[in-house]
C-alpha cells in the first residue's frame, strides 16, 4: 500500500512539473482495494485494470521503474511507450491490460476466465472497475455469461463515490448489490479501507471461483482522495473539502493498517519507518531510471500493429 502511495505521489509530482505527458488518474486513498484483492491471487491469475490502474498493476507485481518508464513514454516501459498511464499491460504478471474505456475490461476478464475453464488451468480473473462502470450495459452481459457458464471471474467494483465529477447517487438507480443478485452472482460488500477485510472477502470469493462454483462480485467501498485526474484541482463544485479531510483523517487505509500492526505487536514504528524509507529510495531510483531512459525511435511507430 505504501509503495502505491509513494508511486502515485511521484506521478503527481512528475505531472505537475510537466515532465509526464497525457493524463494521470491517481489511486491514492484506494490502496487497500488493489492490495487486498491481489494478495489473494496467484502470480499466474489474471487481472484487468482501469484508467486509474497504477495501484492494480503494482499490486499484481509490476515493477516501478518499468511503470514509470511507460508513464513517461519511454522505450523501456512495459508497453514500449505505446500504452502509457492508462494502458499498462504485462503478461508476466497476468495483467491483461489497464483499459481506458469504462467497463472495457469486463469482456476480457470474463473471456480469460472462459479460457481458464476451457483449458482447465485453474486460473481466476479479477475485473477491477469503478462504480462508474455500473452504467455500462456490457458489464451486465458479462455477468450473465459468467454465471450461466460458472466462470472463475471476480467483478471487483471500487466505489470511490465519484463517476469523474459526479456523485454516484446521481447516476446509479436502485441498490448496487441488487445487480449481482439479479444474476445469482455471489456478492459481498466490504470496507475498502480495511486491507484485511478486503483480503478476507477476496480470498473467499477467489477460492470459491477456483473450485468451480462460479463468479463473484465484490463491492469495495472506498474513496478517491484526489481529483478525477491530476488536473482536477478545484473540486468544491462537486464535493466539499471537509469530506476529503474526514476520509484522510479517519479512514486512511495505510494509517489504519499501521495502527493495527502496532497494536498487535507485529511491527514497531521503527520497522514501519524503515519500510517507508526503503520504498522511498526504490521509487526515487525508479523515477531516475525512467527520466534517463530514451524515448522510442519514431521509426518504431509502425511496429506492433499486427502480431
Amino acid at each position: 500500500m505504501m509503495a502505491i502511495r509513494l508511486f502515485e505521489e511521484r506521478v503527481n509530482d512528475l505531472y505537475t512539473r510537466a515532465l509526464m505527458p497525457g493524463l494521470a488518474h491517481l489511486y491514492i486513498g484506494e490502496e487497500a482495494v488493489a492490495v487486498g484483492v491481489c494478495e489473494a491471487l496467484q502470480p499466474d491469475d489474471y487481472i484487468t485494470s482501469t484508467h486509474r490502474g497504477h495501484g492494480h498493476c503494482l499490486a499484481k507485481g509490476a515493477v516501478p521503474h518499468l511503470m514509470f518508464a511507460e508513464l513517461l513514454g519511454k522505450e523501456a516501459g512495459y508497453c514500449k511507450g505505446k500504452g502509457g498511464s492508462m494502458h499498462i499491460a504485462d503478461p508476466g504478471t497476468g495483467n491483461l491490460g489497464a483499459n481506458a474505456i469504462v467497463g472495457g475490461g469486463a469482456g476480457i476478464a470474463t473471456g480469460a476466465a472462459f479460457a481458464s475453464k476451457y483449458q482447465g488451468t485453474g486460473r481466476v480473473s479479477v475485473c477491477f472497475f469503478g462504480e462508474g462502470a455500473l452504467g455500462q450495459g456490457v458489464l451486465y452481459e458479462e455477468m450473465n455469461l459468467a454465471q450461466l457458464w460458472k466462470l472463475p471471474v471476480i467483478y471487483a467494483c471500487e466505489n470511490n463515490l465519484y463517476n469523474e465529477y459526479t456523485h454516484y447517487s446521481e447516476t446509479t438507480a436502485g441498490d448496487i448489490m441488487a445487480r449481482p443478485a439479479a444474476f445469482g452472482v455471489a456478492a459481498q460488500a466490504v470496507d475498502g479501507q480495511d486491507v484485511r477485510a478486503v483480503h478476507a472477502a477476496a480470498s473467499a470469493m477467489i477460492d470459491r471461483a477456483r473450485r468451480g462454483d462460479g463468479p463473484g462480485f465484490l463491492l469495495l467501498n472506498t474513496y478517491r482522495y484526489r481529483g478525477h485526474h491530476v488536473g482536477d484541482v478545484a473540486r468544491d463544485y462537486y464535493r466539499p473539502k471537509q469530506e476529503e479531510q474526514r476520509w484522510m483523517a479517519d479512514r486512511d487505509p495505510i494509517a489504519l493498517h499501521a495502527a493495527w500492526l502496532l497494536a498487535q505487536g507485529i511491527a514497531d514504528q521503527a520497522a514501519l519507518d524503515r519500510i517507508t524509507e526503503e520504498l522511498t529510495a526504490e521509487m526515487d531510483a525508479a523515477v531516475d531510471y525512467a527520466m534517463k531512459a530514451p524515448y522510442p525511435d519514431p521509426g518504431r511507430v509502425d511496429e506492433d500493429i499486427y502480431a
Binding site: F114, E141, L148
Partner: protein, 344 residues
C-alpha cells in the same frame, strides 16, 4: 442475382486434392470443421450456432461433431460474447464469434475497435488477440434496413484489424482457414446471398489463401473491374455481356480489404487504362473510395479517364422489392457505365 455460377473460383493447377462443386456456405462450414479438427483451441460462439446451425444453417452439423463445449450458443449479447472472445483469445484460445447479421457489428464496435484491435499495439506487442469475427453482409433478401447492410468498410478503417471479404467458395474456405490461424483479430464478411447461390470448385482437405493477395477472376484488356464479395458475380456477369459488344473486361477481386494488394490492382489498370470499382457497401466514404484512390495514385499516367465507382446508394436499405433493387449495383449498371467509359 445470377444462378449458381460455374466459374465462381478458380483452383490453382497445383492443387492435387479431389475437387468438387460446393456452395459458398458449404465451403465456410468445411473450413470451420477442418480447423476445429486440427486445433482444439478453436471454439465457436454465437446466437443459435449449435443445433440451429445459425439462421442461415451454415453451421449445421458442427455441434454434433464437436459438442456443446466448442460450438456454444450464447445469449443475445453480441458485445458480451465478442468481448469474452477477446479475453479468451488473449489467454490461449482461438475463438470465432458469429455475428448473425453484419448490421449487428454496430453492437460490438467497442470490443472490436477499442479492445481487440488495440490490445497488441497498446501492450507494445506483448498480448495477442487471435480471433475471428464472422459477420454476414449483403442486401436483396427483403430484410430491410437493419438486416441488409454491408459494413466491411468500418473495420477496414481500423488499424489492428484484418478484413476478408471472399466472393467464391474456393476463396471462402482458403481465406477462413488463414483467418483462424492468424494471430490477429480478423473480421470475415460472408455474403448471405452467396451462401446457397454461389457454387464453385473447392478441393477437399487443407489449403490456405494468404491475405493481401488479389485474384484476377477473369483476364481482359480494355477495362479493369475491381469487385468485392457479392459484386464479383455482378462484375463477371457484366464482363460476359461486355464481351458480346467487343469490350474485354478484367475482373480483379482484392479478397481482403486489409491487408490490401495494391500492386495487383495498379498493374491491372496500367494494362487496361480504365478502372471501375464495384462494392456493395454504401457508396460514400467507403471501400470504393479507398480502392479508387489507390488506383488513381498508382496508375495516374496510364489512365484514360477518371476511376469510376459503383456502390450501394447512400440510403438506408429499404424493404419494398423495387426500392431495394434500386439500391444495389446490378450487371446492367456496370455494363452501362463501362460502355460510357469506353465510348461504345
Amino acid at each position: 442475382m445470377p444462378e449458381a455460377v460455374a466459374h465462381a473460383g478458380r483452383v490453382p493447377p497445383k492443387a492435387d486434392a479431389p475437387v468438387r462443386e460446393i456452395t459458398f456456405g458449404e465451403a465456410i462450414r468445411e473450413a470451420l470443421a477442418e480447423e476445429m479438427r486440427r486445433d482444439p483451441k478453436v471454439v465457436l460462439l454465437g446466437e443459435d450456432v449449435a443445433e440451429a446451425g445459425t439462421a442461415f444453417k451454415v453451421l449445421k452439423g458442427l455441434v454434433e461433431e464437436f459438442g456443446k463445449d466448442r460450438v456454444i450458443d450464447t445469449p443475445i449479447s453480441e458485445a458480451g460474447f465478442t468481448g469474452l472472445a477477446v479475453g479468451a483469445a488473449m489467454t490461449g484460445l482461438r475463438p470465432i464469434v458469429d455475428i448473425m447479421f453484419g448490421d449487428f457489428i454496430a453492437l460490438v464496435m467497442d470490443q472490436v475497435v477499442n479492445q481487440a484491435a488495440k490490445s497488441h499495439y497498446m501492450s507494445g506487442g506483448r498480448w495477442k488477440v487471435p480471433m475471428v469475427i464472422r459477420a454476414t453482409m449483403g442486401a436483396t433478401r427483403r430484410s430491410a434496413a437493419q438486416h441488409s447492410q454491408s459494413l466491411h468498410a468500418w473495420p477496414s478503417h481500423v488499424p489492428g484489424l484484418k478484413v476478408a471479404i471472399p466472393s467464391t467458395p474456393y476463396d471462402a474456405k482458403g481465406l477462413l482457414k488463414t483467418a483462424i490461424r492468424d494471430d490477429n483479430p480478423v473480421v470475415f464478411f460472408e455474403d448471405k446471398i452467396s451462401y446457397a447461390k454461389v457454387k464453385g470448385p473447392v478441393p477437399e482437405g487443407d489449403y490456405t489463401i494468404p491475405f493481401g493477395v488479389a485474384d484476377i477472376k477473369r483476364e481482359g484488356r480494355d477495362v479493369t473491374l475491381v469487385a468485392t464479395s457479392s459484386m464479383v458475380q455482378v462484375a463477371l456477369g457484366a464482363a460476359a455481356m461486355l464481351e458480346e459488344i467487343g469490350i474485354s473486361a478484367e475482373v480483379v477481386d482484392p479478397r481482403t480489404t486489409w491487408p490490401l494488394d495494391e500492386k495487383t490492382l495498379i498493374e491491372s489498370v496500367r494494362k487496361t487504362s480504365r478502372a471501375l470499382v464495384i462494392d456493395e457497401g454504401s457508396f460514400r466514404y467507403g471501400v470504393t473510395g479507398e480502392l479508387a484512390s489507390v488506383i488513381a495514385e498508382g496508375a495516374f499516367y496510364e489512365l484514360d479517364g477518371p476511376v469510376r465507382r459503383l456502390g450501394a446508394r447512400h440510403v438506408p436499405i429499404p424493404f419494398s422489392p423495387p426500392l431495394e433493387d434500386a439500391t444495389v449495383p446490378a450487371e446492367r449498371d456496370v455494363v452501362d457505365l463501362v460502355r460510357q467509359m469506353c465510348n461504345k
